[in-house]
């Protein structure tokens, strides 16, 4: 059905051995409030990890630690260690722009640049110097759109503004934009909560196809979605990582009562 499937599952050159990213005893404070209370977790390339938990549980805060998006919040302070391929992402020598290219992010609300569809994708590769010629850039744009399953829908309208697309297409455009700089990790913060069920299904299908090529972490409030698309699930509550395990086990036989109460709708 999808011409990108083969590509998406093609193994990367980098070895899959060991975690892609590791978090160890990560605490996050907003001012004096401790939003995350010492969380450790590994992210690997072969699995999609879902973060679930009630609002304010720290899951988005934790997600944003992986590419230092919390740096943009003045009062936020992060302690503990997060590494990308063994490299400390909070080291003073870390180039944050480079980090965010390697660890891309997709947000809740599709946020295409107010530019053409083409430029939305081409912008990143251009500033990161990934293309030496226009034709090479064209190739990157087409490739990213294909992998995001959007190419056939937009190939004849690349000059139209990205904002003219439907919500679901805009979100896939944002995923294509993240893919264009060839990241290693893609963080998704409730990527489907503004989409209708059909657009949601397309994004879920896309996530499934991207699995194995990129490490993917998704924050979702939709439990069914976590159950459908992830292989591992982490349940957060009040800043703690309560339970982390195989998605199948979490949703059929969770070990922790708090996890069970949350996923069965008994929370609070």
């Amino acid at each position: 059905m999808n011409e990108t499937a083969g590509l998406a599952h093609a193994p990367r050159l980098a070895s899959n051995a060991g975690p892609k990213m590791s978090a160890r005893d990560v605490h996050v404070f907003y001012g004096t409030t401790e939003a995350l209370k010492g969380v450790s977790l590994d992210i690997t390339t072969d699995e999609v990890i879902a973060f679930i938990g009630p609002s304010g549980c720290g899951k988005s805060t934790f997600l944003r630690c992986f590419n230092r998006m919390n740096d943009t919040v003045a009062s936020a302070r992060v302690t503990g260690t997060i590494t990308l391929e063994g490299e400390d992402v909070y080291a003073p020598t870390m180039d944050v722009v480079q980090l965010r290219a390697r660890v891309g992010m997709v947000f809740q609300k599709p946020n295409p640049f107010p530019k053409s569809i083409y430029e939305n994708i081409a912008y990143g590769p251009r500033i990161h110097g990934l293309a030496r010629s226009r034709s090479e850039l064209d190739g990157i744009v087409e490739n990213a759109l294909q992998r995001a399953g959007l190419w056939t829908e937009v190939r004849d309208r690349l000059d139209e503004p990205g904002t003219a697309l439907s919500g679901g297409q805009q979100q896939r455009l944002c995923i294509a934009r993240a893919i264009a700089v060839d990241p290693e990790v893609i963080l998704m913060d409730e990527p489907c909560s503004a989409l209708d069920p059909i657009a949601t299904a397309k994004v879920e299908e896309l996530i499934d196809e991207l699995r194995g090529r990129y490490a993917i972490v998704i924050v979702t409030h939709n439990m069914q979605q976590a159950a459908r698309i992830s292989q591992k699930t982490a349940f957060f509550h009040l800043g703690d990582l309560v339970e982390f395990g195989d998605t199948r086990q979490i949703f059929t036989n969770p070990r922790e009562t708090r996890t069970k109460d949350y996923i069965t709708g008994r929370y609070g």
Binding site: Q224, F251, N253, P254, K260, T264, G265, R266
Partner: protein, 241 residues
Amino acid sequence: MPSEPPTPHTVKSFDEEIDELRTLVSQMGGLAEVQIASAIDALIRRDGELGLKVAEADAELDRLEGEAEAMAVSIIARRAPMADDLRELVAALKISAIIERIGDYAKNIGKRASSMAASAPVQPVAIIPEMGRLVASMLKDALDAYVERDARLAIDVMMRDTQVDDLYNSLFRSLLTYMMENPHHITSSAHLLFIAKNLERIGDHATNIAEMVHFQVTGQHLVERPKADQTPLYTDPAPKP
């Protein structure tokens, strides 16, 4: 030891629907217990009419099973249950199907009791009430375990199935001898053999209910229980020289 009742759901109607389904399944179980007792009663008292009544009453169990299935499917479709809720629904579906099957065995016993009432009594029938009491108590405890969410009682039920198998083995042997002694007994003895087999199967099904209860409560499947029904291995006695 019954487990704590689960914390209520935020959406109360979900709890109400689950309670309604559990009530329906328990009601089916109660009806099946009565059916087994009446069928054996019909056999022992040689009451052909009662036997036929039991057979007729089975339709109610079939109807309730359809109702339970429709209710469970509707809850699954609308609530997308997870974890223990999901296990609860799967268990209700399976247990109601098992009870329906138990009802079929009781119905068959009723019919055979009615036929046997018309012929001369057979002596090995004396072992049937004990078998009946055993499987009825297994069924009752399996259903109590279901109602109370009691995994330990469920295990206890599973352990008792070998007693039923032992009784069945012994009845099987005595019936063979009985038939060999007097060929006139063969028709009634064959009926009795099927009745005993039906009771043995009810014991197996009560065990299956207990297994489902254990899974529902703990999320764990138990490993295969021992099987003590030896009769499939029996052969003809060696011909006399």
